[in-house]
Each structure stands twice: as structure tokens, then as C-alpha cells.
């Protein structure tokens, strides 16, 4: 159970204008601006949930993750995870969580991955039997048996990321924080990472909180989405709800034979050329099936496809809507 209540965090950032004289001035007097990284952030996440945490760069995603993993102390507010306040009971708290920072590495650079794993086992005091069990499960699911004897520095990014994720799960945490776990990965690695996250969430009932910019991650993994912008939680809902809320327009792409399409009521023909037409409908006014029926009464449809707004487009329009 994760509970955040009215979390606030500000950072002081030194600012100065460009130029030599400004640099000299800054030696004696520094001007700071205060940035509200998080304002009044509150949410609750139940056990075994998988939540996507999205927002543009600098919105406060990583700060929230850092607070939840006990690295940052917020200025005010409460956060209780499995009964602990992360920054107060840091050592007890971190035993029960796993964290993956997609842009950093926790594996020791010079030694084979398995040595890092063994060290992590000792750090978390995992007993031998459960370590062996977890390790073999992770090796199988992440398909890393071939690479764990290689030093981390010689692994490709995709291979390394799979090992990083394994390293964060060796102590069987109840909660897993993933901060951009698929950043920079190729399609195959992305899919295997996603499948893996899904599996451990389903089988081990691990609570997963995932930040990402890749909407496919969100689509493949999470039902619930938290949207943060300028340090505030803006939306909390399911992906389908969000999509419904935003996408009332559908685009029909039709290949047809016969005479040219006439103008229909409630349908906007965007393009119509040589038997290939794109028609946009507003589903509040006209359902997709009605539209298809109407069109097929006039012409012979050879091929038809219906496209809603993609998640990417949805996020862009959300960001626009909230001006973040």
C-alpha cells in the first residue's frame, strides 16, 4: 500500500545571465530561484497494482520516485509505504522495494554480472535457498543465462538493462519502481522487458510504478495512469477512460470502386482521390457502424480501416490541454 499526502518539494537553483561580468558578479552574490518540483502531490496505490506515471520532462516524475524510494526528503507532506515513511525508516523501507533507474547503472562495471548479484544478495541478506530460486526465475524470464558471466562493461544496453532489472528484484521486493526502464532500448529488448514486468506483476503480485515517455510501455503494461505536470497531479484514471475522454474523432480510410463519394451528413471528407478516401467522423454524432453502413450503400467498399487517436497523440493533447 502506497499513500502520498500533500507532498511538497522545492529546489533552489542558482541562476545568472551569460557573460564574464555576470560570472564575476555571481562569485559575490548568487541569485537563486526556487522551483516547485512537487506541489501537493497525493495519491494512493494498492498492493499488486501497476501504475504508469507520465508527464513531460521536468514535471516531477523522478522527484516523486526519489521521495518514494527514500532518497529525497520532501519539504512537507506524508508518505507511507508498507507502513514506513521512506526518508525516516530508510534502511527498513528500502529492503522491501526495488528501484531501476533507466539512466544509471547499479552493476559493478569491472566484474561479471553474477558477482554483482552475489554482492546484492549479501547486502540485502537474502538467504541461499530463496536467492537460488529467485535467481533462476529471473534468469529464465529475462533470458540472461548467457550473459551473467560477462563483465557489465561489455554488455549491450539491452542486455545490461535486463541485468539491471534482475538486480533490482533479487531480494523479492513488494514494490518495484521503474524510472524509464525502456529508455534507449531496441524493439526486441523493449518487448522482453515489458513481458517480464507483466509476468512478475501477475505472478509475484509485485506493485509496479513505472515512469516513461514511451506510450507503448503504458499501453502494454498499465491500466491506471497518473499524469503529473509542473509538480501537480493532473489526472488519475485508466487509459481507456482517458482515451474516451479525448478521442471522439475517428478516421475512416476507405478504398472503394464506383462513382465518387458524395458528401455525407456528419462526416468530413478530408481526402478523396482515385477511389481512396479519408473520412473523419465525430463519434458523439455518428457511430462508426452507422458511418460504414451509409458509405456502403453508395459505393462498393474494397478495404476499410478505422483509426482512433493513438496514445501518443492523446498525451500530446493532454499536455496541451493542461498547458504543461
Amino acid at each position: 500500500m502506497i499513500e502520498l499526502k500533500n507532498i511538497n518539494k522545492t529546489f533552489k537553483v542558482a541562476k545568472r545571465n551569460a557573460g564574464f561580468s555576470e560570472a564575476v558578479k555571481a562569485l559575490f552574490h548568487k541569485e537563486y530561484t526556487t522551483i516547485n518540483a512537487l506541489q501537493d502531490v497525493s495519491f494512493t496505490i494498492g498492493d499488486g497494482e501497476m501504475v504508469g506515471y507520465i508527464g513531460p520532462n521536468g514535471a516531477g516524475k523522478s522527484s516523486t520516485i526519489k521521495i518514494m524510494s527514500g532518497i529525497l526528503t520532501p519539504d512537507s507532506g506524508e508518505c507511507i509505504i508498507n507502513g514506513y515513511t521512506p526518508w525516516r525508516d530508510r534502511v527498513k523501507h528500502v529492503k522491501e522495494i526495488g528501484v531501476v533507474f533507466g539512466q544509471r547503472s547499479q552493476l559493478w562495471w569491472d566484474v561479471p554480472v553474477i558477482d554483482s548479484f552475489d554482492l546484492i544478495k549479501d547486502i540485502y541478506k537474502v538467504d541461499d535457498t530463496s536467492y537460488k530460486k529467485t535467481l533462476s526465475q529471473l534468469i529464465e524470464l529475462l533470458n540472461i543465462s548467457e550473459i551473467i558471466r560477462t563483465p557489465a562493461r561489455q554488455l549491450s544496453l539491452g542486455q545490461r538493462m535486463r541485468c539491471e532489472i534482475a538486480a533490482s528484484l533479487l531480494h523479492n521486493p513488494k514494490v518495484l519502481f521503474l524510472d524509464e526502464p525502456t529508455i534507449g532500448l531496441d524493439a526486441v529488448s523493449k518487448i522482453s522487458v515489458r513481458d517480464f514486468i507483466k509476468t512478475i506483476n501477475r505472478e509475484n503480485k509485485t506493485t509496479v510504478i513505472l515512469t516513461t515517455h514511451d506510450m507503448q510501455d503504458i499501453e502494454a503494461l498499465t491500466e491506471r495512469i497518473l499524469l503529473i505536470g509542473k509538480g501537480r497531479i493532473l489526472l488519475d484514471g485508466t487509459l481507456t477512460e482517458l482515451k474516451k475522454r479525448n478521442s471522439v474523432h475517428k478516421t475512416l480510410t476507405v478504398d472503394y470502386s464506383g462513382e465518387k463519394l458524395p458528401e455525407f451528413e456528419n462526416m468530413a471528407t478530408v481526402r478523396d482521390l482515385n477511389g481512396h478516401a479519408e473520412i473523419v467522423i465525430n463519434t458523439d454524432l455518428l457511430s462508426v457502424s452507422e458511418a460504414i453502413t451509409t458509405i456502403s450503400q453508395k459505393v462498393e467498399i474494397k478495404d476499410i480501416s478505422v483509426a482512433g487517436e493513438t496514445s501518443e497523440e492523446m498525451v500530446v493533447s493532454l499536455y496541451k490541454e493542461f498547458e504543461i
Partner: protein, 267 residues
């Protein structure tokens, strides 16, 4: 405790990998030790009596210093620790169920000991077979040998606890270079790494001996070469323990404060 031992092991093993660096280090330290001794030899030609230590004592001191250089060199820092602070990689270290102070302390011990391990024996062996009075001799008696062993461990810990303060200062300054350079020079000078402490003016000596720097390499090596009275041995070793306690407590408090206001850089 086990986690710190494992942590020690992994750092120690990776430190042992650098064998070419060890050979180069041994060669440098021989050259350096030899040069220092020859320089002092030139001064000693004017009459050994005008110097506080006998030349033979001085030879032992210099060779011990060279053999255990990696344990006491103040200018050596673990770049990884500074990097983790400035780049923000410390995020991972902070989400381990470990005490960061102990973890870094262990790390430092491991790196330095792995270096000493590779270097001290060849230097001690060769230095033992050099012609008198340039050779290293055994401690004056068995008891001094035992006290030396205890004292060198204490001195080693004092040095590390002092450099911990410099690591932690990187949380505040972000660029550790300035403090690092200043601290390095101060430690090297006042610890007797440049010139053994007995060579300093008598008026300065009480102050120099009271500072934590004298509790680093000076105390164990003076016990080893026998240039210290029995009552002085007791006094200096007690001082070592006091400094160790003070520095560790100071470091832990500073770390606690630093972590409260820590800003993890980037991302």
C-alpha cells in the same frame, strides 16, 4: 556485518587486477625512497649528531613509508565516490539497506589494502637487503613490533576517517577539487609524509603531534623505528584512538546532515 565483508571482497578483488600499475608503483617508490635517502645522506655528512634521528632510523622510516604508501597517501581518493555524488549515481547507493558511511569506509579500506598488498612485500624485502645504513631494520624489540601493528591499523583508520570528511564535503561543494587539493597538502605536510615530524622545529612539535595528522603514519612508523619513548608510545596511541573516535563521529554527523539536504543530480 556480512554485507560489508562482501563489499570489501569485491573491491579488494577488483583492486588486485591492476598488476602493471603495481609494478610501476613499486619502481617509482624505490626511486623516490632512494632519492630521499640520498638527499638526507648528503645532509648527514655534516655530522649525524645535528639531526634528531639516526640515519639508520631514518632509512627504516623512509622504507616503511614507501612500502605502506598506499595506506597513507592522502592524495589518493576513490573517484567512483566523487562521481557518484556529482553524477547522481548515488541514487542507487541510497536505496540499499546499508549505512552509506560504513559502505564508503569499507570501500576505501579495500582499495588501499589491495594496493598495499601488491606493493609492500617486494619493497620491504629488497630494502632489507640494502647495505647498512640504507637498509630497513627490524623494530627494536618484540613488543614494539606488536604495538606497531596495532598502531598502523589505528593510523590507517584515522586517515580514512579524515578522508571521509572530504568525500562528504562533495555533497556541499559538488566540485571536490578545491578542498581535495588543500586537504591533501595539509595532510601530507603535517603527517610527516614530506619530512618526518622530528625534523620540524621544536616549538612547532607539540602542536604538530596534537593534530590528527600525526596520528596517521607518524605514530606507527616512529614506534617501528624505535624513535619514541615508552610513555610517548602510550600517549600517541591513546591520541590515535581519540582522533579516530572524533573523526568518525564528525563524519557520521556531517553525512547525516548532507543526506537530509541531498539533491540527487540529473534525471
Amino acid at each position: 556485518m556480512k554485507k560489508y565483508i562482501s563489499f570489501f571482497k569485491i573491491r579488494f578483488i577488483s583492486g588486485l587486477q591492476y598488476r602493471a600499475a603495481a609494478w610501476a608503483g613499486i619502481a617509482t617508490q624505490f626511486a623516490w625512497g632512494g632519492m630521499t635517502l640520498l638527499m638526507f645522506w648528503a645532509f648527514y655528512q655534516n655530522g649525524e649528531n645535528s639531526f634528531p634521528m639516526t640515519f639508520s632510523e631514518l632509512s627504516s622510516y623512509i622504507w616503511m613509508q614507501q612500502a605502506f604508501l598506499a595506506m597513507f597517501m592522502a592524495w589518493f581518493f576513490d573517484g567512483e565516490i566523487f562521481d557518484s555524488i556529482t553524477s547522481g549515481n548515488i541514487a542507487y547507493e541510497l536505496c540499499r539497506p546499508c549505512d552509506l558511511y560504513s559502505m564508503w569506509f569499507t570501500k576505501n579500506m579495500a582499495i588501499r589494502l589491495s594496493k598495499v598488498m601488491l606493493r609492500c612485500l617486494p619493497i620491504l624485502l629488497v630494502a632489507a637487503f640494502l647495505p647498512y645504513p640504507f637498509n630497513i631494520t627490524l623494530p627494536p624489540d618484540f613488543l614494539s613490533g606488536v604495538l606497531f601493528l596495532i598502531s598502523i591499523v589505528l593510523g590507517f583508520l584515522v586517515l580514512i576517517s579524515f578522508s571521509m570528511l572530504i568525500y562528504i564535503s562533495a555533497f556541499y561543494t559538488l566540485s571536490p577539487m578545491g578542498i581535495r587539493m588543500l586537504a591533501t597538502s595539509v595532510i601530507e605536510f603535517f603527517a610527516g609524509a614530506v619530512i618526518p615530524l622530528p625534523f620540524f622545529p621544536e616549538a612547532l612539535q607539540p602542536v604538530m603531534y596534537a593534530l590528527p595528522f600525526a596520528s596517521m603514519q607518524n605514530t606507527p612508523f616512529m614506534i617501528y623505528v624505535g624513535h619514541i619513548s615508552d610513555s610517548e608510545i602510550v600517549k600517541s596511541m591513546v591520541l590515535q584512538v581519540i582522533w579516530l573516535a572524533v573523526l568518525v563521529i564528525a563524519g557520521r554527523l556531517l553525512m547525516k546532515h548532507a543526506l537530509k539536504k541531498v539533491v540527487v543530480q540529473g534525471g
